[in-house]
């Protein structure tokens, strides 16, 4: 997301790294990314940012509206949508907006819903929910990573945010004795490049982080767990205390400690507890922390809740379950590439009318009764948050086609049709002036993180492996030619214990079952603790297999126990 110092350079919106992107148009309708020799703070864009330009003229692009299979003009579809909305009970109408776009669209949607009595809901990437709940959403400028003498990377930041690697490498190789310690639940890109790599079971990482935080002096975490010290936490969770003590000793001795927290899909359970423990530990050690969001705008969700009573995606799903949702307008987020099929299809079936404003064809578009053409996130001008949490202008890559709408334009047109006058939406400055209470630590860290079940023989824990192939922010690049080219190389990865149990020394097929089923190609990854299988994050089968409802009914993609059998 953009730097406030540079208001004109287009930036990649696909993660929190704020990478400058150059885009060129040949005047004949073909767009390609251009690679300036000097790309500013971060050296370059990862393959996600590079391939995102393909969407600008992709065959799957939606440029016109339709109702059912019949093409109609956008104004006709909008008129029919307004009619349907006005016939329904206002509280049964919900507008769900993608927060990964300039904020003016979400604010316009909030104003529209306030005026009409409808429910306003904001969608953030599921990967970001843990950080948002814990309040750990801001970080210092990424350039300061290079000044750290010891970096602790939790998760796989090289995989989920490749552009952070340059700064981490600068730190790692910048001085004698500088170190990168990787703490992850599987053997990933960061582990391979780390000075020291540790793996922890996906179901136990939260307990490990709580014990580590307590060992590093975070008394609040100990209080949240009933006054337990780190030894007691380790004993309760079945973690070797010596591992925690050794790591804590290194962290406490570091001259300049930095902690990087990555949260790819389903990488570890109790994500909010992990994030909260990281925040407390960083405060206790006076360390800098870089929580890596997928979308920096996710940080604004608590303010939207406070000011507009915004609902989350999980609330929308609950409303649909309970029969309270009749008319649903989804703007921007493709639920088919975010949620497992059984969840989004059930929601669509429970509604009387689903209207989807989106950019690319998808199974969700096919299910919707109405479809409206929406601009891509990088065709919308507006305001977005930077990684430090400050608003800045988001400069679009190119002008949007004339037939597509931005989210703000869509909401304004709906309002004009319904009310007969122009929508007056709040400013971003109004939103940023809202004060939000700090999250309560005991809501995030509790005894439940200590009671983790472990996979037995014939079982495995399934997690997401954050391969940076294509866009992962709610639009699927699954059919883009670059994806197809790499598809042959992609395999699920097995921890060495699991590979040995299955008798797999090379690639093979396994079947996974936990209510959903998948047969996947896998290969040993040569590391990792316990019985863990990591599927590429953009594989549909991963979304189907993860656990999607936590005990409190929230929708978070968490590692799940599956049965595993060699085919």
């Amino acid at each position: 997301m953009p730097s406030p110092l540079d208001r004109e350079t287009p930036r990649c919106p696909l993660c929190a790294m704020d990478c400058p992107i150059g885009v060129q148009h040949d005047g004949l309708g073909h767009v390609s990314t251009a690679f300036p020799s000097d790309l500013g703070v971060n050296q370059g864009a990862c393959v996600r940012g590079l391939t995102a330009a393909r969407l600008l003229d992709a065959a799957e692009r939606i440029f016109s509206a339709r109702k059912g299979d019949e093409r109609k003009s956008a104004s006709v579809v909008l008129q029919e949508l307004v009619q349907a909305g006005s016939q329904a009970v206002p509280s049964s109408v919900t507008v769900l907006v993608d927060l990964g776009r300039p904020l003016e669209g979400a604010l316009a949607a909030a104003a529209l819903c306030q005026a009409g009595g409808a429910r306003f809901a904001a969608s953030v990437p599921p990967e970001d929910m843990a950080l948002v709940k814990s309040g750990l959403t801001r970080c210092p400028p990424f350039g300061e990573i290079a000044g750290c003498t010891l970096l602790l990377a939790i998760g796989d930041p090289f995989g989920s945010h490749p552009a952070v690697a340059g700064r981490v490498r600068d730190a790692q190789f910048g001085g004698r004795g500088n170190k990168l310690i990787s703490l992850d639940t599987a053997w990933g890109r960061t582990s391979r490049g780390a000075t020291e790599a540790m793996t922890v079971s996906p179901l136990k990482l939260a307990a490990f982080m709580a014990a580590l935080a307590v060992e590093c002096g975070a008394g609040n975490v100990a209080e949240a767990l009933g006054g337990k010290n780190s030894q007691e936490i380790c004993n309760a969770a079945g973690i070797p205390p010596a591992q925690v003590k050794r790591l804590a000793a290194q962290l406490k001795e570091a001259k300049a400690l930095g902690i990087i927290l990555s949260h790819p899909v389903g990488r570890y359970a109790h994500g909010a507890a992990v994030a909260a423990a990281v925040g407390q530990m960083a405060a206790a050690l006076k360390a800098k922390a870089w929580p890596l969001l997928v979308s920096t705008n996710s940080a604004v969700l608590p303010r939207l809740k406070q000011k507009f009573g915004a609902a989350e995606l999980s609330d929308v799903l609950r409303d649909a379950d309970a029969g309270r949702l009749k008319v649903l307008l989804v703007a921007g987020v493709d639920l088919a590439s975010v949620l497992p099929e059984k969840l989004w299809r059930h929601m669509a079936e429970e509604c009387d009318l689903v209207c989807w404003a989106g950019s690319l064809e998808s199974p969700f578009a096919e299910e919707a009764e109405m479809v409206l053409p929406l601009a891509l996130p990088w065709e919308e001008d507006g305001t977005a948050l930077g990684p430090t949490g400050e608003p800045a202008r988001f400069a679009p890559w190119l002008e949007k086609p004339s037939t597509v709408l931005t989210v703000k334009e869509l909401m304004a047109e709906l309002f004009a049709l319904a009310a007969g006058w122009s929508l007056k939406a709040p400013e971003v400055a109004d939103l940023m002036s809202v004060t939000v209470p700090e999250p309560v630590l005991t809501d995030l860290i509790g005894p439940s993180i200590l009671a983790a079940g472990q996979p037995e023989e014939g079982q495995a824990v399934v997690i997401g492996s954050p391969e940076p192939h294509g866009y992962t922010g709610g639009i699927s690049l699954a059919d883009v030619d670059w994806q197809r080219r790499l598809a042959a190389e992609e395999k699920a990865k097995l921890s060495s214990d699991l590979a040995a149990d299955l008798g797999l020394s090379e690639a093979g097929l396994v079947e996974l079952r936990n209510g959903a089923e998948a047969t996947v190609v896998c290969a040993p990854a040569g590391g990792g603790e316990g019985r863990v299988i990591a599927l590429p994050s953009h594989w549909q089968s991963l979304r189907e297999l993860l656990q999607w409802r936590a005990a409190d009914g929230s929708i978070e993609p968490c590692p799940a126990l599956v049965s595993i059998e060699r085919v």
């Binding site: 690679f35 020799s37 971060n42 590079l50 090289f158 490498r169 190789f173 391979r192």
Partner: protein, 162 residues
């Protein structure tokens, strides 16, 4: 016509910095009529490394080409002529580093041209420009001696000295 300067710098891979994100291969793919001249490989001792043309001084691919399609241009870059190439793959067989790719459908070979539309103008090759970890570098190596803190694994591959 702009003056063509000889490209003195060399494309170097820092094996310790590479994180295997494949952005270099993506950049090459999209900028070279969707035909990649840079592959990503798993190499023993270094889990991830872009495999790229060495721009040899006495290039075996140039010597092996029966159609004079492989040549060294004014800027000193080893290049392939689209018009002359017959797709015989002699260059791919002759290359001791295995970095010339073949496309059997279009009867063409893929050969890194060091982004010949950029480097003579002083710009970085695209793979170097997009590398997010700084693994790919475009630098001068004087008389075979790399920068301090590196050792040369091969003519174009650096490994950091710990």
């Amino acid at each position: 016509m702009a003056e063509v300067k000889t490209v003195d710098k060399q494309l170097i891979v820092d094996t310790d910095r590479c994180i295997g994100c494949k952005s270099c291969a993506a950049a090459c793919f999209f900028s070279h009529t969707q035909f990649p001249a840079l592959r990503y490989e798993n190499v023993a001792g270094s889990d991830a490394m872009p495999a790229v043309c060495r721009q040899c001084e006495e290039a075996p691919c140039v010597a092996a080409c029966p159609a004079d399609a492989m040549y060294v241009d004014d800027a000193g870059i080893v290049r392939r002529s689209l018009v002359r190439c017959t797709g015989c793959r002699s260059c791919a067989l002759a290359c001791p580093f295995g970095v010339i790719d073949t496309e059997t459908t279009r009867h063409e070979v893929a050969k890194c041209d060091l982004c010949a539309d950029r480097t003579p103008r002083g710009l970085l090759p695209r793979c170097v420009a997009v590398c997010p970890s700084g693994a790919l570098k475009f630098m001068e190596i004087v008389e075979g001696v790399p920068a301090a803190g590196y050792t040369l694994l091969s003519g174009r591959t650096l490994h950091r000295t710990r």
